[in-house]
């Protein structure tokens, strides 16, 4: 068992970022998982209680694949923070649609989140060709508990603060102003990136339904995150991408999807309707059978379990309720497990929580008008070449 690192020390965190962004082979991956697991086992009481129930502790660590994962729901019930009474510098909240209680992710510092979310986007080439970034979310100042706004804020800073703008103000988007701005940038031939929740793009399409398409310059892209079911109207991923491609004169492959969540620090990306989700080297996904907790066989369905080495301040292993089929190369994302398996006449949590009809829990607060979840997945099955794990 390795000596546990102290991730409250700035130097350790800087060194950790360096390790994450450097080359990670299988041996390195195992070493990093061991180190982080040992730290979180020692410092997160709820995790320390959960692990022995799965007969897994730092002392009998055999394989990273067997690391117990905390259920996403636990973030709504317990403070999962590896730094005791230290003051977190950021608290990101999920929605509280099921229990009325939001889930909270506490970060001692946003340093690691910033580094990996910028580097993750960078590695898939999001910043390569564009001049200007538009974010269809509130700014981090307006939504301090939104991990999505925070990430976009990091991107903006990385890209140049004068080369990005947040468009949600007082829960509204000024679509006319946005369009005027885009037209001016198009005339100037500036490639543009527009990022937002899937649902904000649905609103955008509705707002511009009677207007002619814009012709975004070559190199431009759109990035949507999360689902949009149960909001003002439902749209399939294929339909949304087709509409967006038309509205901006882009190819569907110029439209990206980000798969992430408030409880994690890393993100996976794909582009196009059937694009493959790519994970950064510092995060892996297992498709597990909830009955056994073990990985399912190839071709079988299971639930996505993240192992995220950037999630230093809470827990590295997260059990989601997102369904996927394991493939020889990775996984095909199917979608969120329906909240209600359907009972007969027996009352359940959602009955008590009120009338939230949507199956997906939005992760972001403060985006009442356009918010949509980042944990939620679109409804189309996507073919993912995945990555070697």
């Amino acid at each position: 068992m390795p000596a546990s690192l102290d991730f409250s020390a700035a130097a350790v965190r800087r060194a950790w970022i360096k390790k994450l962004l450097g080359p990670i082979d299988e041996a390195k991956w195992n070493e990093l998982v061991r180190e982080l697991f040992a730290w979180q086992f020692a410092t997160v009481p709820a995790y320390r209680r959960l692990c022995p129930a799965h007969e897994f502790t730092p002392k009998n660590f055999a394989s990273w694949r067997d690391i117990p994962a905390v259920p996403q729901q636990l973030f709504k019930r317990e403070k999962l923070f590896a730094h005791g009474f230290s003051k977190p510098s950021a608290i990101y909240e999920t929605s509280g649609t099921t229990t009325g209680q939001p889930g909270r992710q506490y970060l001692l510092s946003t340093d690691i989140y910033r580094a990996v979310s910028v580097e993750g986007a960078n590695r898939i080439g999001l910043f390569a060709h564009i001049d200007y970034l538009h974010f269809l979310t509130p700014s981090p100042q307006d939504a301090p508990h939104s991990s999505l706004s925070a990430m976009f804020g990091f991107w903006q800073k990385h890209h140049g603060s004068k080369r990005g703008r947040f468009w949600v103000k007082d829960q509204r988007i000024d679509f006319n102003r946005l369009r005027e701005t885009l037209i001016a940038q198009i005339k100037a031939g500036q490639p543009i990136g527009i990022a937002g929740t899937a649902f904000s793009f649905v609103h955008l399409i509705d707002a511009w339904a009677d207007l002619p398409p814009l012709r975004l310059p070559r190199g431009s892209w759109l990035l949507e995150t999360g689902g949009f079911k149960g909001r003002s109207r439902e749209v399939s991923k294929a339909e949304l991408y087709a509409q967006l491609a038309r509205a901006f004169s882009l190819r569907e492959v110029d439209i990206y999807n980000e798969y992430g969540m408030s409880e994690l620090s890393s993100q996976a990306y794909t582009h196009g309707v059937r694009g493959a989700h790519h994970l950064p080297p510092w995060a892996r996904v297992l498709v597990v059978d909830p009955a056994t907790g073990c990985e399912v066989g190839i071709g079988q369905r299971g639930l996505i379990r993240w192992i995220d080495l950037a999630n230093v301040d809470s827990v590295l292993a997260l059990q989601t309720l997102d369904m996927a089929t394991r493939t020889s190369l990775g996984f095909d994302l199917i979608g969120r497990l329906p909240r209600t398996e359907r009972r007969g006449c027996s009352l359940g949590a959602e009955d008590l929580a009120g009338s939230s009809g949507d199956e997906m829990s939005p992760r972001e607060p403060g985006q009442q008008v356009v918010r949509a979840t980042r944990t939620a997945l679109s409804h189309a099955v996507r073919r993912l070449p995945g990555r070697k794990s």
Binding site: Y47, L50, D289, R342, R343, S346, D351, L352
Partner: protein, 360 residues
């Protein structure tokens, strides 16, 4: 066909579900006479006659067939034409098939009085004299909005049930088995399924859990057909277990950790809905705490199953919470046909009465 003829056909087709004697008792208790639908009877010196709805529209819930069977059987007893909106065809539920099997098992004369539909038929719904529906509050609201004022609407929204043990230290093996029957019957999916077992303060949870674990496992092993655990159900059970561990609750699992049942002691007396599918919570509360502990489900508690004595004080607490049925443990899932489901009278709520006063 007379009521008695229909009753005989139904009792012959399903003697265990609908015993003849119970059907007779149901008619007598709710209509005052077995033949009230077929001829004039005299009540309080007045000739009266019950008139059945011509069409009853039954809207069935997703995972539990027994409520649909009962509703259809009551419609048949009344001699109505029964339109059945089946639940959706889900791969993790056999309810739809079980409802269809039940209808297929009826004698031809009764089967003619039943028609099934996959989707809600607005035209038929508007022609129905009465609508009996099972489902969520949202479903009830949505259906209610589609009805006219003169259509009878019997709504069975979601509800839950509880077990109360007055003296857990004296729980016998037989009583523990009775509780296990209540928990595991219908995989906890009905409104009569207990979602929590409430016990008084100073309960020895180790001893109690040993008894319950053993009873739950015995019941599970004795089930001729184990409840299915598709991906979604397995996920919810695993989540409930891991949450409990992480929250430092006591958890008791079956041997080899199969997914048949899960017993959790949550030290918070406040009721929280169970994941169902055999996940049952032990909660400790003094009589005076129960009103607060159950405040979030006031008006939603169907049945309280009892082991031991129910004090009048506690009875009043439960009554103030809107509990509509008390019964011994082991009987929660098997109410008599005369049971007032959600406080209503299944037959008499559906009929219309005709009075014929003496002409002088």
């Amino acid at each position: 066909m007379t009521t008695r003829q229909r009753l005989d056909l139904l009792a012959r087709a399903y003697p265990r579900l609908f015993p003849r004697a119970e059907l007779l008792r149901l008619l007598r208790s709710q209509l005052g006479h077995v033949d009230a639908l077929d001829k004039w009877i005299v009540r309080e010196g007045v000739r009266v006659r019950a008139c059945s709805p011509e069409i009853i529209y039954h809207i069935c819930a997703g995972n539990l067939a027994v409520s649909a069977w009962t509703s259809i059987a009551q419609g048949l007893l009344l001699g109505a034409h029964n339109v059945v909106k089946l639940p959706g065809d889900r791969d993790d539920s056999s309810t739809r098939r079980e409802i269809l099997d039940f209808i297929r098992g009826l004698p031809v004369a009764l089967r003619k009085l039943v028609e099934t539909h996959q989707v809600l038929d607005a035209d038929l719904l508007s022609r129905a004299d009465a609508v009996v529906a099972f489902g969520s509050d949202e479903t009830m609201d949505s259906i209610h909005k589609q009805l006219r004022w003169d259509q009878k609407f019997i709504a069975h929204g979601h509800a839950l049930s509880l077990l109360w043990l007055s003296d857990p230290s004296r729980l016998t093996t037989g009583q523990a088995r009775a509780c296990a029957t209540d928990v595991l019957t219908y995989d906890q999916l009905g409104c009569l399924s207990p979602q929590a077992i409430y016990v008084p303060p100073k309960t020895n949870f180790d001893a109690l859990a040993r008894k319950f674990s053993s009873a739950l496992e015995a019941h599970w092993q004795a089930l001729p057909k184990k409840h299915a655990r598709p991906l979604g159900v397995a996920a919810r059970i695993a989540e409930a277990r891991d949450l409990a561990y992480a929250l430092d609750h006591r958890v008791w699992l079956p041997p080899k950790k199969h997914l048949g049942w899960t017993l959790i002691h949550d030290p918070d007396p406040t009721f929280q809905p169970s994941t169902l599918h055999g996940v049952i919570y032990l909660r400790q509360a003094a009589e005076f705490q129960l009103s607060t502990a159950l405040a979030s489900v006031r008006g939603r508690i169907s049945t309280v199953g009892l082991v031991g004595h129910l004090s009048s004080r506690l009875e009043n607490v439960f009554l103030s919470l809107g509990v509509s049925r008390f019964c011994p443990a082991g009987r929660m899932q098997f109410p008599p046909l005369t049971w007032h489901h959600d406080g209503g009278a299944s037959l008499s709520d559906l009929v219309t009465w005709i009075d014929s006063e003496e002409v002088k």
